[in-house]
Symmetry: C2
DNA sequence: CTGTTAGCGCATTCAA
DNA sequence: TTGAATGCGCTAACAG
């Protein structure tokens, strides 16, 4: 029953079967209206009975278009990029576009080459490269145009940008724990060079300036579960009553480690995450976090890429303001002996 | 500083610059050793100064190889397929292969066409299509060969298969809750046609036959958080003391709903998941589940694809036996008034 | 060892 | 309207 593919079918086979020239077949396949109805019919039938479909490779070569966009992500295991990939994939599929995905494995030195290579196999690049230096980025972007950048804004290159506003989100989280009464904070910051980490640090600086009476220290280099888990000792030693983790993964790791050590959250220490990944609400206690609509990030990135691909001016750059979702992992700080205002029940 | 691409660079530009023929450039670029050292040098230099790289499209067309594999998944949001994608991507990157990803959005009717289309843009397909019918699968696979199938075994088509042994995993979970003393079980089963769901049901049947004194009912159609959450009322009404969810997602949703209703887990009802996604250990209580090494699934799928691509006999089919990870969500059933064997401390 | 020639499969000029 | 010829950029036979 299964049709043995007779050495791959070409346009010539259809032409022969229909008794017309190659060009006529090509025209019919591409929906040219200037073809005689009878011939069109014959070609269609021949194509169907033969089971012919034009080779995307050959078309790509002659048309200069691949019907493919490439996404470069630093880590396919990271929920943020998974969400973005999903949103992008949905949008691309809607326009019959294909998606090539490349994981740089958090290695900024590979990202540029990966992007250039991917660009040659696609019509455009959606780039998530939070740790690439600004200089590299500025040099890279013109080479891989058209491109859309997610979650960072290049200093000189002009490209559409879709991002979450990490600074504003983090500022809100800081305000949240401040309002709860915390005066000794700890920020488990992410990778040194990461763009979104710089944004968070900017929020910290602004917060410090505005709240000189609040102490806030920074611990560097936590980006995933294991890092969060491993930071538990430092967290306990820090004596902070509220810990703001770089993201939900770090927060969950820390939460696990603290729970294992018998530290009460939020009784003894409050914890916040970032991103609001699907699982943040299922921890114990549920994680207070700043929600980022990652699939929407991908969808908007696609929208801009689609504009670019069609020679249109892409829509405005976009920054989603994360929403703080207060849950069980944050509460009032523990009362100290010298608490001037003991709760009056 | 950025080089304006002069209308796209071709092999002819390099040939001219180096003062040789196209073929010589081609030979050098492909590492042919039969080229004079001096010429080789000149060509290399020309290529570098020009910044030339061969067009993957043109090479693909003439070589008949795209250096790309395509993965078809039913849902990019599902941790199982995310893990597989990651493992596959890692393996492919190691051999300088690219990865095209297509999401069928749980629509079995689209999967075949998606796979065929993707196949034309790649050298092989890694297929995750749990709900496609067997007939469709058997008809599809020869058309998209070479292919590797994840998590199901086609009845007639001969392809390498890499899978998790859902039946054995589920049998272990059943044994686990039985050993804890549960006698009234409920299985929140997944999508009707899903292969891995059938495997779980087979485990249920075997269990029933071997344990006629244990009651086990089945509720159909839960595959994600929302489904799990929505099933809470049915679960409570069922009067079961142990609920085996289709997967971790369903279990987490159910857990959330029960917690919200004040039902004690595992005090009143025990819950098991499946997959052991990264987050299962962070729920409250942590989820008892059967661990499936999804990235390894992807890695092994790639290994077999790589064999296929090189004309080698692929390695044996593989079924990972999931490991039960007992955690806090399962415990002994609540004591009833007529419990014949009250715990003796 | 090198250059010339002929395709890979298709879209698109240009004549007819 | 249709067909024949040209080329997309490259590799691989084939001569030289």
């Amino acid at each position: 029953m299964a049709r043995r593919s007779p050495e791959r079918l070409t346009i010539a086979d259809v032409a022969e079967k229909a008794g017309v020239s190659l060009s006529t077949v090509s025209r019919v396949m591409n929906g040219s209206t200037t073809v005689d109805a009878a011939l069109t019919q014959r070609v269609r039938e021949a194509a169907v009975t033969l089971g012919y479909t034009a080779s995307p490779l050959a078309r790509s070569l002659v048309l200069g278009k691949t019907q493919t966009v490439a996404v470069i992500v630093p880590d396919l295991g990271n929920p943020t990029f998974q969400g973005a990939l999903r949103g992008l994939s949905t949008g691309a599929a809607g326009e019959n576009y294909h998606v090539l995905v490349a994981d740089s494995f958090e290695d900024p030195s590979k990202e540029a080459e990966l992007a250039r290579e991917a660009r040659r196999r696609s019509d455009g690049i959606v780039l998530c490269a939070p740790r690439m230096t600004d200089d590299e980025l500025n040099e890279l972007l013109p080479q891989i145009s058209p491109a859309v950048v997610i979650n960072r804004t290049p200093t000189s290159a002009r490209v559409p940008v879709v991002a979450a506003d990490y600074r504003s989100g983090f500022a809100q989280l800081l305000a949240h724990v401040k309002d709860l009464g915390h005066r000794k904070l700890l920020f488990l910051s992410g990778a040194e060079g990461s763009a979104s980490n710089r944004d968070r640090l900017a929020a910290v600086d602004a917060f410090r300036a505005a709240n000189p009476n609040i102490e806030i220290s920074v611990l560097t280099g936590s980006v995933n579960f294991a890092d969060g888990y491993a930071s538990a000792d430092d967290v306990i030693a820090s004596d902070a009553t509220a810990v703001l983790a770089f993201n939900d993964l770090v927060a969950m790791g820390l939460l696990g480690a603290l729970t294992a050590r018998g530290v009460d959250v939020p009784g003894e220490v409050s914890i916040t995450g970032f991103d609001d990944i699907q699982f943040a609400q299922y921890t114990t206690p549920p994680l207070t976090t700043a929600a980022v609509p990652t699939p929407e990030l991908g969808a908007q990135a696609w929208a801009r890429m689609w504009d670019l691909l069609n020679g249109r001016q892409p829509a405005y750059n976009l920054a989603f303001g994360p929403l703080v979702v207060p849950r069980g992992s944050t509460g009032r700080p523990p009362k100290t002996g010298d608490d001037p205002h003991p709760a009056a029940t």
